[in-house]
């Protein structure tokens, strides 16, 4: 590969890495600060992606719209719709043990997938939506456009980071991080905590929607395949746990490192003969699954640890 090729491989890497960083920061708001387990990230991501795609693409016969609206409008509405879904589910579940929310969030993702696949008038079903624009597309083309897009993504990463940082240093954030590690105490503090948890869940959902919309713009084409729970939900969780839940810088670092491992191993296995290449895709997932277990057991506080005092059991 030439130096030029390498550079643009890096740009592509940073673009997806940035989108994952937003997802990871958003998940950190929900889990790291709110202690809420969201197993349906792919659902929020899909809501955002389809909203952005439908609102900003040019008129099409195969699905509703497109409405040819500015990308910023698309991003905002994507965030709002995704946030609304988050609001509904949080309202129902925050008063219950985190496991109940986990179950319900799996359901949300499933329902959204069903709608996306079945309502062809809305989303063009499994064929997907094509012709989704990128920002400033008319002014730049080719490789310059790639550079513009990566800058755009990282501006949004910065925005997400600032919001997440505000949540973290708020007095609420501090209490919540203490509570995440001790469910029982949370129950006794009650209603106010539930309000904060609902808020973190909604804000997290908003940014997951925005990340979805961003990826739709990046791919220029979006179909249900791109909402594969494994690639969205699972990878984001691994990123956050590895990076250090509760810590925003850790979340970004985790996203980039895991995405690097994921992309590099893909590059390696693509060199293999075809039959082995497909099989090795599963081996990579297997390894990521094992890696998560390793981090959970040995390295729970992540790259940027917030170390609690050691227990001294009898």
């Amino acid at each position: 590969m030439t130096a030029d090729g390498l550079f643009f491989y890096f740009v592509a890497f940073m673009t997806m890495g940035g989108i994952y960083a937003i997802l990871c920061l958003a998940l950190n708001m929900q889990w790291g600060f709110g202690g809420l387990f969201n197993a349906g990230i792919a659902g929020f991501y899909a809501v955002g992606a389809y909203t952005g795609a439908i609102l900003t693409s040019a008129r099409s016969a195969s699905h509703v719209g497109g409405f040819d609206l500015p990308i910023v409008v698309g991003l905002i509405v994507a965030g709002i719709l995704s946030g609304l879904v988050g609001w509904a589910i949080a309202r129902i579940c925050v008063r219950l043990k985190a496991d109940y929310l986990a179950m319900a969030s799996i359901g949300i993702a499933e329902i959204i997938r069903l709608i996306v696949v079945n309502e062809e008038w809305l989303t063009n079903g499994s064929l997907g939506i094509a012709g989704i624009p990128r920002p400033l597309e008319k002014l730049f083309n080719g490789r310059e456009a790639e550079l513009v897009f990566v800058v755009f993504v990282w501006i949004l990463v910065a925005v997400t980071y600032l919001v997440a940082q505000r949540l973290r240093v708020s007095p609420w954030g501090r209490v919540m991080r203490a509570i995440r590690d001790n469910d029982v105490a949370a129950a006794s503090i009650g209603k106010d905590i539930q309000r904060f948890q609902t808020e973190t869940f909604i804000v997290g959902a908003v940014f997951m929607g925005i990340a979805g919309a961003l990826s739709a713009h990046y791919f220029k084409f979006f179909s249900p395949d791109a909402t594969e729970p494994l690639l969205v939900t699972f990878l984001t969780w691994v990123m956050l746990i590895a990076g250090g839940s509760g810590n925003n810088r850790g979340a970004i670092a985790g996203a980039l490192i895991i995405w690097a491992i994921w992309s590099l191993t893909e590059m390696l296995t693509n060199q293999l003969p075809t039959e082995w290449a497909t099989r090795s895709a599963y081996i990579r997932m297997l390894l990521i699954g094992l890696f998560l277990q390793f981090v959970l057991q040995r390295f729970r506080s992540g790259l940027v640890p917030e170390k609690p005092p050691e227990l001294r059991p009898r």
Partner: protein, 296 residues
Amino acid sequence: MMEFINFYLIPGITLGSIYALGAVGVSMIFGILRFAHFAHGDLMTTGAYIALMLVWVLGVSPLVAMPIAMAGTAIVALLLDRLFYRPLRELPTIYTVIASFGVALILRSLIQVLWGTEAHVYSPGFQKPLIFFDSLRIASRHIQIISTTLAIAVALHFFLKHSRLGRSMRAVSDDPELARIAGIRTERVIAFTWITGACLAAMAGIFVGLDTDVHTNLGWNMLLPMFAAALLGGIGKPMGAIAGGLIIGIAEELVSYPVLGVSLLSPSYKSAVAFIIMLVLLIFRPQGLFKGRLLQ
């Protein structure tokens, strides 16, 4: 009327039986180990594939392979607990939920590596349904599935009510600390919970394979209805989970039955039924239909 029974009710009871078998494990694990086991569907898949391998290698029928597949799945479950869940036992249980989410992926990708991703059937060919009273048509596999589930339900009832281990399980589910104080060996109870849950999951997985086909997402796709069934029946109430599974299975088939020419939901939205039932429960009756508990 016969069309309703033959094409909606009986498939509904069959599907419900499968959910029921899976939901028993989900409910027991939630009750005793206090976490939502996200890898339970993939335990079903594991059982189905172990049976598939036996069918291929030994040429036996899947029903003959079932006991071995159940034993194999139980061993897998015990190993998973030892390797991935037990090390997290002292932490808030949500960490175990995350771990089980990862275990779901591990099991599935392991199966994909070992067996590939195509769908398989246990025995090719069309089975003629049995016909009763001229118009009641039941496929023999449906009879097998429904009657086995019924037998399991009865056995489970007596086991939980009258055996020492069954009562200990209910006690740990009620209050794990008090159970330890009363001298119950909770680790033994936990091991037995895994064995029961895994055996029933394997059974359910094999039944899915008998009814349709064996594929790597078989169990994961059933996770949502199984969670809904366990919630419906009340957490920690295995008998409730059986009822919940049947209700959800039947409801999923019936929503697409046309009444006066219109059906409630298009068949492609069948799996939304479980989610809607789950949401309604979480809003109005999170402790379930029966005298279940709400875990804190």
